[in-house]
Symmetry: D3
Subunit: 248 residues, 6 copies
């Protein structure tokens, strides 16, 4: 099986980080390949950059999904996820989505750790869209200034996770964000409840969906509707699918 | 005062239609100019096309907002609206947002008319985001095949609006969608409750916001954060704003 | 255009304050007149007084709406608003409603400043009714003892607004309550985000609704149903409208 | 024990009907007295009339609560209920509130029967305020034209109740509205699930609250705040209570 | 009238405590009898014990409901309540349910006091199921270590109740949990708002439901469906009722 | 890896059916074993039987979880799921929970097919608890009389699934209920969207959770709290775990 990791940021190092974690989480026999956004922000950090990232994710998927059995989005807000599902004949999983649903299967409530004091509301909207906001016990944030200092960052994440485990009756902590990739397994031994990594959870969910052999080819049945101009030819072609089989 | 109408579709005729209605709705002294998306779909009709449209809207705004006092988005799902507000030092109003809030000021409940049998759930998400879903009495849809036949379309819209007025205790009907621009005023005389046009409502709200002289310059205060690559230079420059003043 | 400001309190000075702010906010050519409740509390401050104020607002509107093109309610909880809309053939706007919807068009989330430690739950119910409670970031309160000391009050409002702007990712602050009328513009220069005044927002929304020329005459089509006794003859006559056109 | 039935309509016959049912439902030893609104509509049937009824209910309570151990509101929308509770040192129960909570103790879901095709949304707001809207299985309406024809009305109510019992998994049906008073017991034998009458439920709840001897005197502790003018002297005096003990 | 108090814990002393309070709350002429769970935990304190308690409550009810006019569950989470209602031809009331609905009839908002720092989320789910979570102002907890020290416990409950009354605009405090039975009346004199005891409220609600003579026999109409094995013969017989009259 | 399938019904044939499907869905190297409830209903079909089933599920898990790496509940309402998670040091997955979260990863909305006209509300509560009720497009039911007639049942399920796919914009259909086990794969070829089987989804999720090696031993750390009496000794021992590490 072949899984495509799609980084919605333009930084190759983030792709490499995500691909590395994906390989650790995958079962033997699963091949992991990565792709980096061709345009947009080095590291998405505001709403305009996120809107462009959704386009860049679709652009990357359209060019490279052939040959892959599933895709995992390596961008914290799962940008472009719903749109990608409407286009592609293979399973597409969001890293945060996968971690959240996994957390729900480990207990009634979960905690979250995110990057940046202003991020909890953004993730609040995401949780609401997925339907799991009532299951969040508490969301704590890590200051952005720690990025790049891996030891200090790991220490802070462990500390916040222990605080969550001590204060709330939770079954897991979602360590949320592509820049935290790998941190969950790094500090797990210091925390009494499961820590969830979005990329690792995403790969495991993608593997499950591939094994189920669900029929998804109908999603990309080409239709007579005109595609887009000014975007990559692959995306233009894919997006010419009629909006729905029900209203021709 | 100068208002910029931003069409998220690539079809110039839609821009012309929207600019025409905007000019009818504007007070004397307001100048209206239009811009058409440089890339994306001729007429956005699925989620992938909508994701690209959000990028195209930001691209158009970044290039042309200078000299304008406010912008109105001429795309039914208000694509890119929240992101645009984080970037620009002028008011930005969504056409559907403006119609919905106007409807709320005309009665406890309102009706909606949308294009396409599969569209109500899409607008449901929009209403939920704006917070007004509990005020929707009923959403009815018009078949896509009527597009291009203006007389038949007008007749169908009038008929659905009368049905809504007869069945529900509503204060207004939002005639939703940029392709329906102008239809509300065209058939108003045949319907006993107010019909709302997104572009007209958007222009009136934009005028109100401009007159209030709210201080919005802080939104685009340039910061040290890196911008985007592979996008228009104007958008790259604008989006380099730090994500928030609170977490440097 | 002529706009009627309806003060649901019996204090003439509050009417004068509201009319003054309304005149500042109105465009040239708009005439503003005020009316004070004939009965009820000098300054509404509990639920029983608010119930009576709703009656007093309807009483004032019924007597004086003729000749006006729209009405704005100058009472913080928008008392009687929905009932007034069912009676009158002109637009009626609540001061808090107008400020809240305006705030929604300036950003995803807004803050609020209200009078009295026990007031936030009251406004919570109002926000829920309008549907915008999910968009409130935080509501802060000003102690009642500052009423009458305008300089100290202005200083406190500016301070709370700056706290809101610093702590939350908000697009505006609603300075809520008819006794705070004028404070928003007075302290705007000291606060980095827009401050919204209910009366000013209400006048601007009323002007927009009037300009749209929506057909509202159907609301007061006299019917055979009996009116009320023991109330003003004007209100008795107006309220004889049948409850709905749909269930005769 | 003495229970005061407060009719928010100005029709004495409705008071008589409610007092009669209240006496049937009360335990021996409970005295029931009635009072009719001094002003307002003969039978409240739109929002303006309901706003005035809330005032009339407070007016009646202020004049007559002395000597009563509890009050039950005999008006379908429980008009003035929350305000009355803030004023009076005795329990006040709404007829619809009492029926709804009683229904919740008879099963997970309940049905409702109301007067008028346009009424379900009105009751929807009431249910939302009480918090029990998720427990409503279905609300069915009876046409207004049957009022006055008691046999036909009884037959229709029985028929709708049987439909509700057959279609939904409900534990009770609330026969909602003061004009339906007495109908529940009249047709109970024809329906397989409990039918609830608001007045009967209200009296039983009022009796329970009186027997519990809850300390409520604090609600009407007179304060220095100014009362109202232009209303009955009793209401003016009562409403001079400070808005809350917490914010002097 | 005869009311059966069903203790879902296996501790006889808790049954005795509940029966004692029930007798104090009942009107003269009401006989109160108690039954203790035959299996399960001495004092239910986690989810697995609660699941077993639901079975034990049904087991006790099935064996002893004959001859009783109503039952009140003496277990804090009302374990087995909905299931019991589907089986028995008499009213069944949960102690916490009864206290919550009573609290709702004393004011817009109420406070709660529960045992154990980790309990508020458990009760949160219960409130959500009943529909009254929006009416909870605040839930405070008492440390488990005080159990058994009645004077200290009473002092702590009084203190928390006064804090709730001082901080929130509440109409009542629910003193929640079967081990707190009797505490509400013990410390009422020290607290300015009503304190509600679940057993006392449950008995009062049960008496009301019995007096209403609602037809409930249909609930236990025996059907052809097979019952259970490995449970008490009485429960096996009762549970053979068809799942619903609507889908044979 | 070894997965334990826990049938909450007492019918061995249902266990066999579930184990068979589980083996089909498992990857090679996964051993599947089944256990049947020792007491309760042959096929759970009302709330009382479901309450007993939760106990029976815990009883079976306590006796047999040792040696298993994960457990999947083979009972449609996931009875006892949350309680089991609080007791056991291995992952426990509900069959319906697993199918619902899998459906969420295949599209924005999903459909459901359940057994019995009265079942949709029961599943509604389950969806609300999991948080995914807003993602349900429509729930359709199959009449109970078809049970036992496999060909007719398969035909009806295919027909309802095609109706769901044609009417709603869904990404998957959850074929819900342990008696439908195996039907999804049997009729998949006749339906254009993925059909989800709870047992198959549950096994795949259980495998994912086992592979992640989450630390769960803390859940069953024995504590000094007393266990239960009158239940199996294994369940008594396990449930003696203190209610939470946070409130000793």
């Amino acid at each position: 099986m072949r899984i495509l990791i799609v980084n919605g940021n333009t930084t190759q190092a983030i792709t490499d980080l995500a691909v590395g974690e994906a390989r650790r989480a995958a079962t033997s026999g699963t091949e992991v390949v990565g792709v980096t956004a061709r345009f947009g922000a080095a590291f998405v950090s505001n709403a305009a950059q996120e809107a462009v990232a959704a386009h860049a994710v679709l652009d990357a998927l359209a060019r490279l999904y052939r040959g892959a059995d599933a895709a995992v989005l390596a961008i914290s807000l799962d940008s472009g996820l719903a749109a990608a599902r409407g286009l592609l004949p293979i399973p597409v999983v969001g890293m945060t989505e996968a971690a959240l649903f996994t957390a729900c299967m480990l207990g009634d409530r979960f905690g979250m750790i995110v990057l940046g004091r202003d991020s909890p509301p953004l993730y609040g909207e995401l949780l609401e869209r997925y339907g799991v906001e009532s299951r969040l016990a508490e969301c704590r944030s890590i200051e952005r200034s720690l990025l790049g200092q891996d030891d200090a960052l790991a220490e802070r994440i462990a500390q916040e996770a222990r605080t969550l485990a001590a204060n709330c009756d939770i079954g897991a902590v979602v360590v949320c964000g592509v820049v935290f990739t790998g941190m969950a397994s790094r500090v797990q031994a210091q925390v009494p409840v499961p820590l969830l990594d979005g990329i690792a959870c995403g790969v495991r969910q993608a593997e499950s969906l591939v094994r189920a052999k669900f029929p998804l080819a109908y999603r990309s049945a080409a239709g007579p509707a005109p595609g887009m101009t000014g975007v990559s030819p692959e995306l233009a072609a894919l997006s010419a699918v009629p909006p729905s089989p029900k209203d021709k």
